[in-house]
């Protein structure tokens, strides 16, 4: 198991956001985290990564505490979490993915630039390298974020809603990227909101609503009963249960 989470809990003020979350992620899979708004999906990722404090529980990655293995972990935050008017360009943002490997004092140089350029090419964005980031479309910004995660050259990736608000071309590019990562033996954990595409895109799924509702291979776990339990009465359709129908969303 590449990631083991045991009994993880967090709270915002006095409200529980995550309660006793435990699961073990197998290596080399694309894994979706799915659940209604306020289920704690982003918080789960951030707590695993140690970006927000936990009230209890433990996380081990590659069998080690997370602090020891940060260079092997890639992270794509939500696109809205940063200020896209920041005075910088696409290539520079991608190079930030290398900062963790540079240590305290080394500056990014020619090698980092070359790697960043390669990663931009990997998401079809090499033509926009020098473009100020506010002049990119939402989908292009998301691809820059993905390129930055590629630049981290990790074995385990966490992505927070990478498909949110992107155009069809970007969605396709992201799916291709995810599959390429899987074929290289990487593990990718994705917060996802579009139930209809879960069976097509992901090998395993974690259904979350403050607590883990179900976790396992998509074919076994992504059932109507489990979705009903996760979303309460709000999933009034059975489409996603089999993954045959498309176009509907919670």
């Amino acid at each position: 198991m590449i990631l083991e989470v045991a009994g993880l809990s967090t709270a915002y003020r006095s409200q529980a956001v995550l309660r006793d979350v435990s699961f073990s992620a197998p290596e080399g899979e694309l894994i979706a985290i799915v659940g209604p708004n306020g289920a704690g999906k982003s918080t789960l990722i951030k707590t695993i990564l140690g970006l927000t404090p936990s009230l209890g529980g433990s996380v081990s990655v590659f069998g080690r505490p997370i602090g020891d293995v940060r260079t092997r972990i890639g992270y794509v935050p939500q696109r809205e979490s940063v200020d896209w008017d920041f005075p910088t360009h696409a290539l520079d943002v991608v190079m930030m993915g290398r900062y963790g490997r540079l240590g305290w004092f080394r500056r990014p140089g020619r090698k980092e630039k070359a790697i960043a350029m390669e990663c931009l090419a990997g998401v079809g964005m090499e033509a926009f390298a020098e473009r100020q980031i506010s002049q990119l479309s939402g989908g292009q910004q998301q691809r820059v974020f993905l390129a930055r995660a590629l630049a981290q050259d990790a074995d385990l990736y966490f992505m927070d809603e990478p498909f949110a608000g992107v155009d069809a071309a970007t969605e396709k590019a992201i799916v291709e990227l995810l599959r390429r990562l899987r074929s290289e033996g990487k593990t990718v954990i994705v917060v996802h909101h579009d139930l209809a595409t879960v069976p097509e895109y992901f090998d395993s799924v974690l259904l979350l609503n403050v607590t883990v509702q179900a976790f396992g291979p998509t074919a076994e776990v992504f059932t109507e009963t489990n979705l009903q339990r996760t979303y309460g009465g709000r999933v009034a359709f059975a489409v996603a249960a089999t993954g045959q129908a498309k176009g509907a969303e919670a």
Binding site: R13, K46, L49, G50, L51, G67, R70, T71, I73, Y75, P77, S81, V82, D83, F86, P87, T88, H89, V93, M96, G97, Y99, G100, L102, W104, F105, R107, P108, Q132, R148, Q152
Partner: protein, 294 residues
Amino acid sequence: MSMDFWILLTGSLAAVSCAVLGCFLILRRMALMGDAISHSVLPGIVVAYMISGSRDSILMLVAAAIMGLLCVFLIQWFNNRGIQSDASIGVIFTSLFAIGVVLVSLNARQVDLDLDCVLYGEIAYTAWNTLQIGGMDLGPRSVWLLGGTLLLVLTVIGLFYKQFKLCAFDPMLALALGIPAALFHYLLMGLVSVATVSSFESVGAILVVGLLVIPPSTAYLLTDRLGAMILISAACGVASTVLGFALAVWLDASIAGCIVAAAAILFAVTFLLSPKHGLLFARLRRTRLSRSTA
């Protein structure tokens, strides 16, 4: 060397320190943090003065830096416990400033600390207060103090440029990469405190906020690169000093006031005329666009 030279040098050194640090403040949407820090260092200054009896001590810088960091810490602490961030800033810095004012007034007899001087600065007297070591006159104290501060600011920002940049743009990624974002937050705030204190004698605790915020805001309108923004900001700081001094001589007015007013004029002109973000060119582009689509 002439008095004018020392005034210009003092003003420029203060302006550049503030202009560089200010870039990170405004990009982190913390422009008002500079305001808060510059006011809350007052009690630190007074206490240090009461202990050491001098205005030029290192103790004063240290005490002020501690007060500045305490201010930042308290703002964060209250903010985390449900007080709105702007309210939290307002509560903390006015309270600390009030403590400083009370301390000054209580000790008015023993403490020869002119509140006007703290608030508004007096750069005109720069040349008279010189540093003497072993009978040698080494030039104005404030030049040494501000020069040292600028050196410190440039060294720290230069060494950790990538960390400061990433923490300003995406603190979550910084943390995920194992970069201690909180450390760099307090390091930046500590530098702002030191720059504020070493500038207060020349420009005063209130106008120093202008030097922290206005030149970076001007630079922000002129470039899309952080490195360029910092350089332009520093240049704007020096230009404001020179322009402001000329203005002050011409009007026979407060030098510090004129320097910040000059910075404001540069900002206003840039806001109107900047090719990238200026009002004029934006309007021209819109007219052209509406003509071409009409």
